[in-house]
Amino acid sequence: MRTLKRLLSAIPSIIGIVILTFVLTRLLPGDPAAYFAGPAATPESIEEVRTQLGLDKSLPAQFVDYISALAKLDLGRSLSSGQSVVDDLAARLPATLELTLGALIVATMLGISLGFGAALRPGGWPDRLCDAVTVLGQAMPTFFLGLLLVFVFYYLLGWAPAPMGRLEIFYSSPTEVTGFWTLDTLIEGNVDAFRGVLRQLVLPVVTLALFGLGPIARMTRTALLEVLRGDSVRTARAFGLSSRKVLWTYAFLPAAVPILNTVGMVLSFLLGANVLVEKVFGWPGVGAYAIESLLVSDFAPVQGFVLLMAVMYVAVNLGIDLLAAAIDPRTRVDG
């Protein structure tokens, strides 16, 4: 019942997103009809294209067209690639997800470990490292950090492969089953290609992870310290429970929800930060696709991308809330 309520509460956000993406893309500068008609077009042919695209209609009429197409999962056609936007996005989404989730996993694992270390010994080296990483991650734009890593590890040291996509050209791409090439290469049993995929992933993942690490580490530290200094941990210690039990069940569990919320927030950030990082690393994901389309006033892909991202934001938040309610009874209060 409570779960259903939370699910339903996502609907208004989705409606808002649909309206917003429509309005936003109409506000963008540039005339798609002029672009699509080509540089040699006459005013008449531009108008003709405009009519073809339905861009001569009033805004409400265009909105109705947009909604009815959306209901059929039709996000229109990319003017530059000629493909349907849904197909384009679907083909590129796994690359983006592989990168984002990889970065999220690294950031979460390192962040929680670092936060743990910092909370157990405030003022010790993990605590100071925690501060340093936070400042670094917040102060430096991700694309710049990405460029810096490429410069140092590819150009200067030669440790990393060229920042050109998901796999170097002398490997054959795996047959797509999941779309996650780390998994697909393993399914094929091609360990060499798997290593190749990992090598390509390292720098962009590190770039994004450094960005997400700080907030997770800081929140783990804060939340854990508060519980550790609290009465319930004192009780668990007074009753002689093992230190592992005290740490995980009585200290970490009550701190899990704020940490989880931060992980959700970081995931949302990463989805946004992806756009530029993909461009830096030549990563064939949805972010790079959106930027290329934006530069040539190609409405439909941008609209589709924004919609996709927004729906993912909502889905992430929904998932986090449901997970939090499963962990912590205090979050299950009916509001």
Binding site: S232, T235, G240, L253, P254, P329
Partner: protein, 321 residues
């Protein structure tokens, strides 16, 4: 003197607990006799909770503890990391706190929390463990323990949380129960019910109990022995019945005069002049000297010895007779 473990469960001699150079508990000697309820009474900040925590083995690491002798039935308590402790915490020494809702974990079902302790000390598993959990809850008067064991503290009243805390404390049949202000924050009816329950269980199980309270009336009603604390020093040690009829230390007398249950009317209440001294400053040898009408010059120079027959001992150069 050698320790007497046949009568006493806990013996502390010259126990000092300090934060840096500040002795918050100052050379206190305290015995907890078997089968008796000993109340440690004093204003907030007098150091009584620190003594409770040091016996329970949960003294904050920021504090340092020194003692000529500090033992539980032959086990040294002065080293909280010592191996002898493993069998004491939660098994032989249990503690209940004020504010039980905060003292229990909000994200673990109460039955699981009790189960954690029973599994740790009694080694029970599976069906035996769940039966023991239900028994523990039933023994403290919780109705329908089968269903209630699945509740979280957020779903229970304050009084019910304290019952759960008591069930947790008694689950492994400890020999000593420390009750640290167990009823602060509960309403009056619940207070009485909780204390009646605690005392009934203590008597039935022949346990010793250290009751920490600032409430004289409560100590009088429930305790056999009373230790009065002021600013980190124990000033009077007496049997409960004697203390209230013939208090000997000026501080005890002042406390009684300031307590509502002793005074006939609000006008008859006599406030104690001054407040607890700042322990960081220079202190007179008897820390009550600056607030005391009976103080003499030597009270500031020499610490009064604890004298008098057992059951009526007082640390004062000029006691009320």
């Amino acid at each position: 003197m050698t320790p007497d473990w046949t009568t006493n469960l806990v013996e502390a001699r010259d126990l000092t607990i300090s934060f840096g150079a500040t002795a918050v508990v100052d050379t206190v000697s305290l015995d907890l006799p078997k089968g008796r309820i000993t109340a440690l009474v004093g204003e907030s900040g007098s150091g009584k909770s620190l003594i409770a925590h040091s016996i329970a083995g949960i003294l904050t690491p920021a504090a340092t503890l020194q003692a000529a002798r500090f033992g539980f039935s032959g086990v040294d308590l002065s080293d909280a990391s010592g191996s002898g402790w493993r069998d004491l915490r939660g098994r032989q020494i249990a503690i209940i706190f004020q504010n039980p809702r905060a003292a229990l974990s909000p994200v673990r079902r109460i039955g699981q929390q009790i189960g954690d302790v029973i599994a740790r000390h009694r080694g029970l598993k599976g069906a035996e463990l769940s039966r023991a959990v239900v028994e523990a809850l039933a023994s403290v008067g919780i109705v329908d323990p089968e269903a209630r064991q699945h509740a979280y503290t957020g779903e229970l009243s304050g009084g019910m949380c304290q019952r759960v805390m008591i069930a947790l404390a008694l689950a492994c049949n400890p020999r000593l129960l420390i009750a640290d202000e167990p009823t602060t924050g509960l309403d009056n009816t619940t207070q009485a019910a909780i204390l009646d329950l605690v005392v009934e269980q203590i008597r039935a199980r022949h346990m010793a109990c250290l009751l920490i309270t600032h409430d004289l009336a409560l100590a009088r009603e429930y305790a056999d022995e009373i230790r009065v604390m002021h600013a980190g020093q124990i000033v009077e040690e007496a049997e409960s019945s004697r203390l209230f009829s013939a208090p000997r230390h000026p501080y005890t007398r002042a406390l009684l005069g300031a307590s509502a249950s002793q005074a006939g009317s609000i006008e008859a209440l006599e406030p104690i002049p001054g407040s607890l001294p700042d322990l960081r400053g220079d202190l007179p040898a008897c820390r009550f000297a600056d607030r005391c009408a009976r103080a003499e010059p030597r009270c500031r120079i020499a610490k009064p010895l604890t004298t008098g027959p057992s059951g009526a001992r007082v640390a004062c150069w000029n006691p009320v007779s």
